[in-house]
Each structure stands twice: as C-alpha cells, then as structure tokens.
Amino acid sequence: MKALRKLLDNIKPHVSKGGRFEMLHSTYDAFETLLFVPDKTNQNGVHVRDAIDMKRTMIMVVLALVPALLFGIWNAGYQHFMVLGQEVGFWEQVLHGALKVVPIIVVSYGTGLAIEFAFAQMRGHEVNEGFLVSGMLIPLILPVDIPLWMVAVATAFAVIIGKEVFGGTGMNIWNPALLARAFLFFAYPADMSGDLVWISGLSGMEGLDATTGATALAAAVQGNIEQFSLWESFLGTIPGSIGETSTLAILIGGLMLIFTGVGSWKVMVSVFAGGYLMGLVFNMFGLNSMMQVDALHHLTLGGFAFGAVFMATDPVSATRTEAGKWIYGFLIGVFAILIRVFNPAYPEGMMLAILLMNTFAPLIDHFVVDAHIKRRLNRAVVKA
C-alpha cells in the first residue's frame, strides 16, 4: 500500500498543472481514485458523505456479472466439445472457453476504455466509471465465435454514438451495451444469428447437422423446443450468447444487485411478471409453435433473464420515477415475448424490447411527474 502511494506521489507533479504530462491528468486521476479515497474534503453542505460512490456502484455490478461470466466460459468449452463428440475433463472445457472468451473481454475493455479516457481528457473531466459495466456486458451478450474486430467496432460505436455524443455516462438514452449488440445484429447478421455462431469452432464445419448448433429460440420457432428441457435452460447448458444462457447464474447476480440496492428490484420483478403474463396469454391461443412454448420456459430462454436483471435495470436508460419503473419493466417483458413470438426473423426480442422501452422511458417519466404535479395541485388550498 505504501509503495503504491509513493509511486503515485512521485508521478503527481508531472501530471498536475504545469507538469510535462498535464494532458494525462484525467488518466492519472482515474487510477489514483481507483486505488485510494480522494483527498478532497467537503467545502459546504453536509460534511459527511455516504461511502457509496460511482466506482463502488459500478464495481458491484461487475461483481454481480461474475457468476454469469464464469458459467459462460465453462459453457463455451462444454458446448464445443459436446458438438465434436469428445469427452474431456472439466478443466479442459474451462481452458477452451477461457481462450475464446477472455480475448473478447480484453478487446471490449481496451477499445471502450481508450475512447472513454480520451473523451474525459478532452473535456477535462474525471473519467466516468460507466464503461466498467458496459465493457463487461458487451462480451456477455455476444456469440462466442464473433470475430474480435467486430467486437472492437461495436464497442467503439456504442461508446461514441451511444454515450459520448450525449455527454457521457448519465446522459445516454439507450443502454450502450445493447446498442453494441443491436449494431452488430443489423450490420453483420451473418455473424450474429443463424445456427452456427453460438458454439465455438462450428462456423468452419458446414457439414455438421445444422440443428446441433441452433439456440433454443431458433429451435422453438421450428417447434423443436423439446430438445431443451426447462431444467437445462434454467441451468444454462444450452447454446447461446456467452453470458446469457444460465438463468441460475444470472439470478445469483440479480440477488447481489438487489441486496446491495444497486439494481432496482421493481424493474426486475415487473419484467419477469410482464413476460410471464404475456407467455400465458399466448399459451391460451397457441396458434403457432412459438406460442405454445410454456410461459415459464420463455423466461429461461435466450437473453430474457440477462436482459431483465442487467440491462433493463440500468438506471440511466430506465425510468427514473418509482411508479414509472413498474410500467417500464412490465412493458419490457410484454414486448420481449411479443417480438419473439410474432417475428421469427428476430428470435431475440429482449434486445429490441429494452431498446424500445429505453426510448419511451422519458415519456413514462413525464406522465408520472405530471400525475404527481396534479396530485400536489389538488392538495393545495387557496384561501381567497
């Protein structure tokens, strides 16, 4: 600890005003505050501040993502060797998965943080922590076979167009991580959908039986949902994006978020409620094979759970009023299942549903605030 402090103190004169590397001030500041509590004191207002700050909030989300990440790494290896028909040990599966997943994470963080630091430098701000979460979310919602340059392009797009043009973390209207996925989904559909991208090493082998690599959602469109039992899709031993397959691991992360108060339980609960209800409604009609998928099963398939826990709860792009959160979450659940069922071309409805509701979140807030103002006006009594 002392050695670190010494090192930082040695660098400090060079990056402060007038120093040789003055332009790197934000970068220095970001690392210093990552390691130590800032030495600034309160000038006015309350003289004690709560210990929670943006760094702690964001790092909590990253920690909550770890179960899903670890499971994703193992699952990448597990799926790979299962398709090849080879029996290998647990660690070999993890090793294969890690070799596939870790580079994606490194590329995502590298690209995003570089842009984030550059913008902070240009604006003379402190570096925003928001990307710590986005940089972890992006790899987890991509297929494991994605080329690394696409990860870099998508991340750059998400950070620049999704966030920095609006003014940085806290000002964006869409969830940056989802924007990265949507960008790839529409720009490079061949590498983001179909039956071959979800299992590593499969895209090179066209000869294989196509159904082996299909995600559960693609199978459900064709009425083959029996391939994936409810239990399997809850545990997550199915093909899919890296971090989204295991509902169990995601729920562990979700509990961490709720327990620490970082994620809003209202949004999570209402997304699941909306999705479940919509699933039930479709079950009643059951006109096509997608409608017949059990409502509970719907919630464990594809990115539904991941989106509900980690994407919809993003406080910046979600509604900001408490009443609005119920409406917002509920509609996400409804739309996710709706898009899934009625648009087989886009089996992953969750991404589009959340982006759509992100767009409408300010509108929901507007009505909630309006209702609040009306209620207050009714209470006001004018003595004439």
Partner: protein, 81 residues
C-alpha cells in the same frame, strides 16, 4: 469526500430519505435548467437546504444538492420580489 462528482446516474435514492411528498431528483433538475414553472409545481416552496441534507449525504454522484437548492430558492425570491 468518498468519490468524485458525477452526472446523475442512480435513481430512486433521494425519495427514500425525504419525508415530503416531492420528487427531489426532478426538482433539482428543474433548478439546474432554471425552469421556474416546474420548480413551483414540484414544490420548491416546501423545502429549504436542511431538508435535502440527507439526499446530499446518500447521493452517489456527490453533487452539492443544498447549494443547488439555495440557488433555486434565491431565483424564486428574485422573481417574486
């Protein structure tokens, strides 16, 4: 101070520690953009700095909410004066 100043990110934290029936986050935003009508509607007359001291304490973004509110109140006094 535990952490640097940031844009507003977390939502729903202020309401929890404010006894009045107000939407403090939207009130603060109205003050920041000098929207007099909104400030009035959202109840700026009902609070003074000390009322939102707890909000300032729990604020994840470490903003100086009390100074912001004072600016808003001063503006209202000037406008009404």
């Amino acid at each position: 101070m535990h952490g640097g100043e940031r844009a507003i990110v977390m939502s729903g934290k202020f309401e929890k520690v404010l006894p009045m029936d107000l939407l403090p986050e939207f009130l603060i935003k109205a003050i920041l953009v000098d929207d007099i009508d909104k400030m009035e509607q959202l109840g700026i007359y009902e609070v003074v700095e000390e009322d939102i001291a707890l909000c300032e304490f729990v604020d994840t973004s470490k903003m100086e909410l009390q100074s912001i509110l004072r600016k808003g109140i001063d503006l209202m006094i000037k406008e009404l004066g």
